[in-house]
């Protein structure tokens, strides 16, 4: 088994054994999609709420895996000196980051499969879906959220990082255009939300899958800026131990 495969397996074992991470990455997105698709209480401007929810919940899934799950696990790895010990093996930084990236990709693939399947079961009907464009959006979103998660993980203590990541997750869930359309938010908050990576990812995914994006060009720009800036800031400020 290669060094990279060995480390990938170890990363996936951590995800598999961590109940809180599984709840955030799989439980909450599936629950939100199922509940709000069946119980029509959200002001989604759609005849069938599932058509609004699927792209937003996919964005939530990307955020939960690449920001919350990766960030919290990495933060505790710093606290428990796991990163320090791994730094004294032949693994090297590049293969460590590659293993973490691949583990995110594996988890996200499982998330997408389950969420899209549930969406179809609940009556989701994508219109002229551009899956390749959606994949590009997911990749950019992953870079953006991984950058935010690693920035928090690399600068805060394990427990503080845990609280900050979960708090940020909740805020972005509420004002990130995932379950509530941005035009239902107060004016100033709506404008701020459009600059957040969650709203940008939700919007470009809605455009790619439903041809229903609202500010697609500006959303791609916002997402691209976050995808470049967040990992760069994280790399610049990350403290290994």
């Amino acid at each position: 088994m290669s060094t990279l495969t060995t480390q990938l397996r170890a990363e996936l074992n951590v995800v598999r054994r961590n109940g809180e991470q599984l709840l955030v990455t799989l439980g909450i997105p599936l629950l939100l999609l199922g509940f709000f698709s069946v119980v029509d209480v959200l002001p989604t401007n759609e005849k069938d709420p599932v058509n609004f929810l699927v792209p937003g919940i996919l964005a939530l899934a990307v955020m939960s895996t690449s920001m919350v799950s990766l960030g919290i696990a990495t933060g505790f790895e710093r606290t428990y000196l796991v990163l320090k010990r791994l730094a004294a093996t032949p693994l090297g930084t590049t293969r460590l980051i590659a293993a973490k990236t691949l583990s995110i990709a594996v988890v996200e693939a499982v998330q997408m499969l389950l969420l899209i399947s549930l969406g179809f079961i609940l009556g989701w009907s994508p219109e002229q879906a551009n899956w390749l464009l959606a994949l590009c959006a997911v990749v950019l979103g992953t870079f953006a959220f991984a950058g935010i998660g690693l920035f928090l993980a690399g600068n805060l203590r394990g427990e503080v990082n845990l609280a900050a990541s979960n708090g940020l997750y909740l805020v972005l869930l509420l004002i990130g255009g995932i379950v509530f359309p941005l035009d239902k938010l107060p004016g100033a908050l709506s404008a701020i939300s459009r600059c957040l990576p969650t709203a940008a990812l939700s919007d470009v995914l809605r455009d790619a899958l439903m041809s229903a994006g609202e500010h697609t060009t500006s959303s791609w720009i916002v997402l691209l800026v976050w995808a470049i800036a967040a990992p760069a800031v994280a790399a610049k400020t990350f403290k290994w131990n």
Partner: protein, 303 residues
Amino acid sequence: MSAVVVENLTIRYGDFVAVDDVSFQAVFGEVTAILGPNGAGKTSTIETCEGYRAPTSGTVQVLEKNPFTQRTSLHSEVGVMLQEGGVYPSARVHETIAQYCALYNRGVDPATLLTAVDLESKASSTWRRLSGGEKQRMLLALALAARPRVAFLDEPTSGVDINGRDAIRHIINDLAANGTAVILATHELDEAERLAQRVVLFDHGKIVANAPLTTLRSARHELRFSSSPTLNVQELSAHIGLVVTHQQDQYVVRFDSADTSFSSELVQRVTTWLTTKNLPLNNLSIGAQRLEDIFRNLTGGTQ
């Protein structure tokens, strides 16, 4: 060829000088103990040798490589045991050992390694469920997974019971016997005395002793005995021509000569003086000074 060569190493943190122009070497097949009080510069020096930090000035070579700039290639042959931590709490023992064996890829069989550190019965346990001694043995196993030519072991017996200590000492002795250069950082002088062939003693960022343990000990001898608390140490000092001190219910006379006739004469002069003063004599011992006393003398008793 020396396994580790440290020359004129200085490490600063801002204005604070943690390590001040130190030089020493560690050779294959020997245990080199790095000793010193807290804050003496041991950890900074060891972590520089492990490649975690760059020297402010001076050079460090491990297996003829720069541990900071050639870290990844060097670490395939270097075993590191952190003082604590390094494993995710939910990680299982056998999985973690197998992971490190695969990462180092030096042909070490995980099952054999589990047996060597006596953790077979804990193979399926998670890290968080291990006792202090079991955790130390597992950290040692992760270092051994490298089949190391150089092993940096930080406080390997800290918090370990007597049986566990014996097992760890046995493993360390085997490592050195098989040609590995073992660099052992420890506060436990008794451990260093049992394991090390060479001692490098740090104090306030400088090396105050760097010699084979036998040389260090043979250079300093002492006579110890118990007697009446009212014994006049000035009078006895004048009589034997050496300084007598009173330490923890014992009288101590330190001298440099390893000459047995000198030792015999000294014992005779002390016993004669005590007899003439009608004072008791108990627990008399004479020989090489203990490492703990050498340490106290050289560091001003700060350990």
